[in-house]
């Protein structure tokens, strides 16, 4: 197991390093820099030169990259070019919680809900229920998340008035303790559901096909023969084996979930990384952007690694690759 883990870790580090170099290179290649964005059209040459040397933009590229990488190893992501020199770690840290809460809730919702739905469908396959779920999931894959978010706002917040339209907390009241938790949970319902929908459809689908493949195996028949109920035969015996591909699907979709979270946050005014990303990319705030891309890449690589490890742990055959 250890060589397998080390091999996977090595690959992950390689991927992150490549992404870092590519991103840095891209930003370097782009016309204009942060000074142009900061000073606008009216800045005079002397101020611009001063700003460039202050932000160390006048140094050779490899030197800039070297110092960035050196600081990175020490856990320092630099300071924002634009937002008054605030450390990037601080900017990201302030908003990371909200995004993680949203993504985490959606992940839990879609994994549990998807597996249950898939198991239900696999219980009565090829019927009307199966056809309905399968058509719905096709549509779910085709709906852009930001539009689904708007529909949810239209239907459940504006028309029905069941949920708040925007934000993470109610600005007019000053809740503490459990009331505050409840308030956030109340605001979380719509965005988390929107974010979970397409993932849920996918998980349900993979669970269904996995279960159908497992259901015909001898050990499931044995379970039934010794008197297990159909429900127990499926949930207790077939499901654990059918979960392998489900784990993969959940793990490999973390990057996409972050992507969808960005647009969902924008529609719902959720105070997470999405809006930070938006302002940073508009003002060419290189340290913030690099930090964000790095964060997302590392999460994706870690999620893949974790998936591989879980897979290797469950299924020894996977360790050989």
């Amino acid at each position: 197991m250890l060589p397998f883990v080390l091999r996977r870790l090595g690959r992950g580090a390689l991927a992150v390093a490549t992404i870092l170099v590519v991103t840095f290179g891209l930003i370097q290649l782009a016309p204009g820099d942060a000074v142009d964005a900061l000073a606008g059209a009216g800045g005079d040459e002397a101020t611009n030169d001063y700003l460039r040397s202050y932000l160390q933009l006048d140094r050779p590229v490899w030197e800039q990259f070297g110092s960035y990488a050196y600081n990175l190893v020490r856990g320092d992501l630099g300071v924002s070019f634009v937002q008054g020199g605030t450390p990037v770690v601080e900017l990201i840290g302030d908003r990371l919680g909200a995004t993680l809460l949203l993504v985490g809730t959606a992940l839990a919702l879609s994994s549990i809900g998807g597996i249950l739905l898939g198991a239900l469908v696999a219980r009565w396959p090829f019927g009307r229920f199966d056809a309905a779920v399968s058509s719905l999931s096709l549509v779910a894959f085709a709906i852009p998340t930001f539009w689904l978010a708007q529909i949810f706002v239209l239907v459940f917040a504006i028309r029905a008035g069941w949920f708040p339209i925007q934000g993470m907390t109610d600005a007019r009241s000053d809740y503490t303790g459990w009331a505050a938790v409840g308030d956030v949970a109340y605001h979380l319902v719509l965005p988390a559901t929107v974010l979970a929908v397409s993932q849920l459809a996918l998980v349900a689908r993979v669970t269904r096909s996995g279960l159908l493949a497992e259901k015909s195996n001898d050990y499931v028949r044995t379970a039934r023969a010794k008197g297990a109920t159909e429900r127990r035969a499926i949930l207790g015996h077939a499901l654990p084996n059918a979960l392998l591909p489900v784990v993969t699907v959940i793990g490999t979709r973390v990057g996409l979930l972050f992507t969808y979270a960005t647009v969902t946050e924008i529609v719902f005014g959720w105070p997470g990384l999405g809006t930070l990303l938006l302002t940073a990319s508009q003002s060419r705030d290189r340290p913030v952007l690099l930090g964000l891309v790095l964060l997302v890449s590392v999460s994706v690589v870690l999620a893949n690694l974790l998936t591989d490890l879980v897979y290797g742990w469950i299924d020894p055959r996977a360790r050989r690759h």
Partner: protein, 334 residues
């Protein structure tokens, strides 16, 4: 039950002579005809016709500048304005047509680019093997783990948001799925007897790849391209939704985002452009399914028989592929 020789089949192959010369094509036509006639086939192909028709004929159906005002602002759908008007009095129906044109143009070029790159990388990687394969596989892996949307955000944010930038970016980054599938396909082709024959008769590697491997991987590649296309539509829509689309071209994502402040008063501003995106994505996904079914009726998603996904294609690592095709294992055992 599926065997490709029913009544409708013999009609379509165009007589016995043709069947002799190319039985494979005849069967493909039969299978395609059958796959199109399933409900999802009908929906998919008609959506595709609508989407492409809208893209090609936008200026014939609705001539004029889609950015120009054409009536009172924020009017609900009516006979004059089928999808209503927006806050500037622009006709939404016209904007949706031109938005479809933008989306389809981008999809066309991106898919063409990723076809060239993906098929080349996949074939070379699978056929040559060894260190070349290792290198290209690592490269593919890196492109797979880059969150495309975030990279796109960086590039568009820095290089400006023209349609050409978007096409280049998405084209250079969307080939990884295609490369993996083609590589797996090539690996299995490499050991076939006719490949051995071609090699021993002294054919060059390039010739073998172009004349013997390419025609065999092309059908699968077409299916994957449909999926890549639908993914590209969604990414382009998301980018223009957050304001990073081409400001000189109307796009569907931009229309949805401009509806955001008016959700309370003008639902039609959001509904119709969003529906257009769904139609375009469904068109590509379902058509991909139809082609997939036609290629191998035994694996038909609508067929009575169980379907095995081509495990060599490594689809288990490609949830999008597994997701968008109806292809799932369905053993019919009790």
């Amino acid at each position: 039950m599926p065997g490709g020789t029913d009544m409708a089949g013999t009609e379509r192959t165009g007589g016995p002579g043709r069947q002799q010369s190319g039985p494979r094509h005849g069967q493909a036509a039969v299978a395609f005809g059958r796959a199109v006639r399933t409900p999802s086939g009908v929906i998919g192909v008609s959506f595709l016709v609508v989407a492409i028709g809208a893209a090609l004929m936008a200026d014939t159906i609705a001539p004029g500048d889609p950015f120009a005002s054409s009536g009172p602002a924020l009017r609900p759908p009516s006979a004059d304005h089928l999808m209503g008007t927006d806050n500037f009095g622009r006709d939404i129906a016209q904007a949706v047509l031109y938005g479809m044109r933008t989306s389809m143009t981008i999809v066309f070029w991106v898919v063409a680019m990723s076809f060239v790159i993906g098929v080349a990388v996949g074939m070379v990687s699978g056929y040559l093997g060894g260190w070349v394969d290792d290198l290209l596989s690592r490269l593919t892996e890196v492109f797979q783990s880059i969150p495309l949307f975030f990279l796109a955000l960086l590039v568009v944010g820095f290089f400006g948001s023209g349609v050409d930038n978007l096409i280049l970016l998405l084209g250079f980054t969307s080939w990884e799925l295609l490369a993996r599938v083609v590589r797996a396909e090539t690996l299995s082709l490499r050991e076939r007897a006719y490949m051995e024959a071609a090699r021993s008769s002294g054919a060059s590697t390039v010739r073998i790849l172009l004349r013997h491997v390419l025609p065999n991987v092309a059908p699968t590649a077409v299916v994957v391209m449909a999926l890549v296309g639908s993914r590209v539509i969604l990414i382009e829509a998301a980018l223009s939704f957050i304001g990073l689309g081409d400001p000189n071209q109307i796009s569907l994502g931009y229309l949805v985002s401009s509806a955001q402040p008016f959700l309370r008063v003008a639902w039609w501003m959001s509904i119709f452009p969003g529906l257009a995106i769904v139609v375009a994505v469904l068109a590509l996904n379902l058509t991909g399914d139809v082609i997939n079914d036609a290629l191998d009726p035994r694996r038909s998603s609508s067929g009575r028989r169980g379907r095995r996904r081509r495990s060599a294609a490594g689809t288990e690592a490609v949830p999008d592929l597994a997701a968008s095709t109806q292809a799932q294992p369905e053993p019919r055992n009790p």
